[in-house]
Amino acid sequence: MGTSICFYFQVHQPFRLRQYSVFDVGKNHNYFDDVKNKAICQKVANKCYLPANKTILGLIKKHPEFKVSYSISGVALDQFEAYAPEVLETFKQLAATGNVEFLDETYYHSLAFLYSKKEFKHQVLEHRAKIQKLFGVTPQVFRNTELIFNNELAHTVEEMGYKGILAEGADRVMGWRSPNYVYRPRTTSKIKLLLKNYKLSDDVAFRFSNRLWNEYPLTTPKYTHWLASSEGQTINLFMDYETFGEHQWEDTGIFEFLRHLPVEVARHPHLSFKTPSEVIADNEPVGEMDIHNLISWADMERDLSAWLGNKMQQSALKEIYLLEEKIEKRIKAEDKKGNEYLKRSFTHLLMDWRKLQTSDHFYYMCTKWFSDGDVHKYFNPYDSPYEAFITFMNVLNDMIVRLQKK
């Protein structure tokens, strides 16, 4: 039995908030910075999404054995539709090759699982419907925002019908075990767990262009040699899609690196490319993983401290989920009364509320930015985590004002 190389790329862009001040509260309900979001979306499209999609399309045409998978957040898809339709077009072309798998996640790239199971399920189903509509496929594998994971999540997702789920191969849960095998999460009976090989993933995602790294420069033959000498059923290479062209600029040679990969891998007969669903279908779990405490793929800590590490973040998250029930109640009440205008107005509020759940808003409030600083600053629209909190709370207060509307 050979070893598979399983790529999953994360594609996400949040709806960033505009500079929403205390003077806007109760007066202005436009929260999002359309100009900035459009500019960033198009910039990243030109630097990453378009050239990367083109590269991968070309690779699949030339090497029919090359396969990858994507998870694209709903809010990113929304922005592609509005600002960069050609990105969506190339993803559709990728879908048509049959070599590309699309995974499900929460539509809003949110932390809903931690606060409301009901909202979580809604967002997953909304995402599933969007993928079906755009790409004509129904995702079988789930990945939660930032690979946040525990047993309970696996259990919930299994109940929703998914065959597989992804997580970070964090040292503290792996212990002596290797991430290169398929596992079964505790409290589940069918779903299979794929764990990120963070060392080999981060070699590409973070270290590729680091001149201080003793393995610099990372050539395709060298990297393929590392892959070939890794033992196991599968090597799960999970990373942000922005690695190609955005985190690692084109002039670092990252696209060339990718372009040579299928040829180099072909020199090792025991290696093959597989999508997450194929890995799951071809392999039985070698053991059980018991992950009670939440893990993620973020920072050195691989925990939730990037979103929940300080009291501002905790408070903002708590406050936003307190609105769930209130918004629903008002929609139902107006529906009953047959007041179409107010019903529409509260439905619109519900949509805004969901976009406010995107994890990035809380990530921007992170104060532990001295060790992992540069990553946190990536497209961060704020001067400081305090500004992020202030803007978010102003918007939240406006939503509360809107809820009182008669």
């Binding site: 001040s21 300080n310 501002m312 400081s384 985590p385 305090y386 500004e387 909190f389 202030i390 709370m393």
Partner: protein, 423 residues
């Protein structure tokens, strides 16, 4: 003394130490001297002051270093010079003072042999100080001369010419900062002359370095940036001493009430904050030439009851003011450094600082704003007042950051520059 062989001996023309008339300049001079002493640099500190203050003030100045005798013994020596110059003096305030001195003080003490010693205007007095400095320089042995802000530049140059040692000019503020971009030509000329005569310039921030290079035509390679620091001591008072009326929130302005510090922007913001948060009080702590205008303005804007003017504060009262406040605002138009935000954090009060400040280069756990952006400032003030969580987070992280800004580290940096210059 064999022990002292090889130690760097610096002749420093500085300003009075806290708690006397503590402005940023005096605080920085004290901090730098202390930091240098901790690294074994021998400092002779030349200190101008008016004769009349001698009896009451000097004991304290000396005492500051006496308290740490084991550290400072033999490393810091203070030389007193009888002069009316003092920091933040301008042409008008000097005239007022010298007139007062000649009519009141000298007249009263007619019979004790005192005569008119001070010059009739500030520039002559600065010149007179420079003449005296030459004698002081020749009276000892020094490796370097280090002087602080424009009134000491001529003294520094005179000393340099007398003993032929390298001159360092330490820029805590330029005339552009003090006047909001409308410099007094004579002061500018002295600054310009000093900077060009200096062998090295120390700027308190990149912000100030930029000013020096842009407005005075100095090559960037001749300017090094030495950020200021702050004394980290726990300062706690009884709750009764630091509480306003229960439930009322307090927004603080603390600094000289002059154009440079942006008190008018504070007033404009206060008016808008009041509309959003009716139970807020505003405290203006400090004095300066804009005080009367500000008091009138507050009354005209309907803030007479809500904006309190404390006048000039010193010593523990400064700490008390910080602790009383819920947020400290420094809306400076042009702030070369700005130590007060660091003091505010030490006292447990979150800070909002103007982006036009040097301190914003070393402090990240605070809110920053362009001094002219009133609405943005109001947004920040209201948020800090409304969200205790925000205030707590800013203070907690800010204090951790401030703890790293020690004069000891400043001393090490300055000494390194000294070493390069005497080598």
């Amino acid at each position: 003394m064999n022990m002292d062989r090889g130690k760097i001996r610096v002749l420093m023309f500085g300003w009075e130490f806290p708690p006397i008339k503590s402005g940023g300049l005096g605080t920085a001079c004290y901090g730098i001297t202390k930091g240098l002493a901790q690294h074994g640099v021998m400092t002779t500190f030349v200190l101008p002051h008016a004769y009349k203050q001698q009896e009451c003030d000097f004991a304290q100045v000396e005492g500051l270093f006496d308290r740490y005798k084991e550290v400072y013994d033999h490393t810091v020596k203070v030389v007193h010079v009888n002069s009316l110059i003092r920091p933040y003096q301008n042409v008008d305030s000097y005239s007022e003072e010298v007139t007062h001195y000649h009519t009141e003080v000298v007249k009263k003490k007619k019979n004790d042999g005192m005569k008119q010693i001070y010059s009739n205007n500030l520039f002559e007095e600065v010149e007179r100080y420079a003449q005296m400095s030459k004698m002081i320089a020749l009276d000892g042995e020094y490796d370097l001369i280090h002087c602080h802000d424009w009134m000491t530049y001529q003294a520094g140059i005179a000393a340099k010419k007398a003993i032929h040692k390298p001159l360092i000019i330490h820029v805590h503020a330029t005339e552009f900062d003090r006047t909001g971009g409308h410099p007094n030509q004579h002061v500018y000329d002295i600054e310009h002359y000093g900077m060009h005569e200096a062998d090295m310039i120390m700027a308190v921030s990149e912000f100030t370095k930029g000013m020096i290079c842009e407005h005075y035509g100095i090559a960037p390679s001749k300017v090094c940036v030495i950020h200021n620091a702050v004394e980290n001591a726990d300062r706690v008072f009884d709750k009764g001493q630091v509480e306003y009326r229960p439930g009322d929130k307090v927004v603080l302005f603390l600094g000289r009430v002059t154009l440079q510090k942006g008190p008018d922007y504070f007033l404009k913001a206060a008016v808008k904050v009041k509309e959003l948060e009716p139970n807020v009080k505003f405290i203006v702590a400090g004095s300066g030439d804009m005080e009367a205008k500000l008091i009138r303005g507050a009354a005209e804007m309907g803030l007479a009851k809500d904006m309190l003017f404390t006048g000039f504060l010193q010593g523990e009262d400064v700490d008390r003011a910080f602790q009383l406040a819920d947020v400290y605002v420094m809306p400076s138009v042009s702030e070369p450094f700005g130590i007060t935000p660091l003091e505010s954090l030490i006292n447990g009060t979150p800070v909002i600082i103007s982006k036009q400040s040097g301190v914003s280069e070393v402090l990240s756990h605070c809110l920053k704003v362009d001094f002219w952006d009133i609405d943005r400032l109001v947004n920040q003030i209201v948020a800090v007042l409304r969200h205790k969580i925000l205030a707590d987070e800013m203070v907690q992280n800010g204090q951790r950051e401030v703890k790293k800004l020690t004069w000891e580290r400043v001393g090490a940096k300055v000494k390194q520059v000294y070493n390069e210059m005497v080598a």
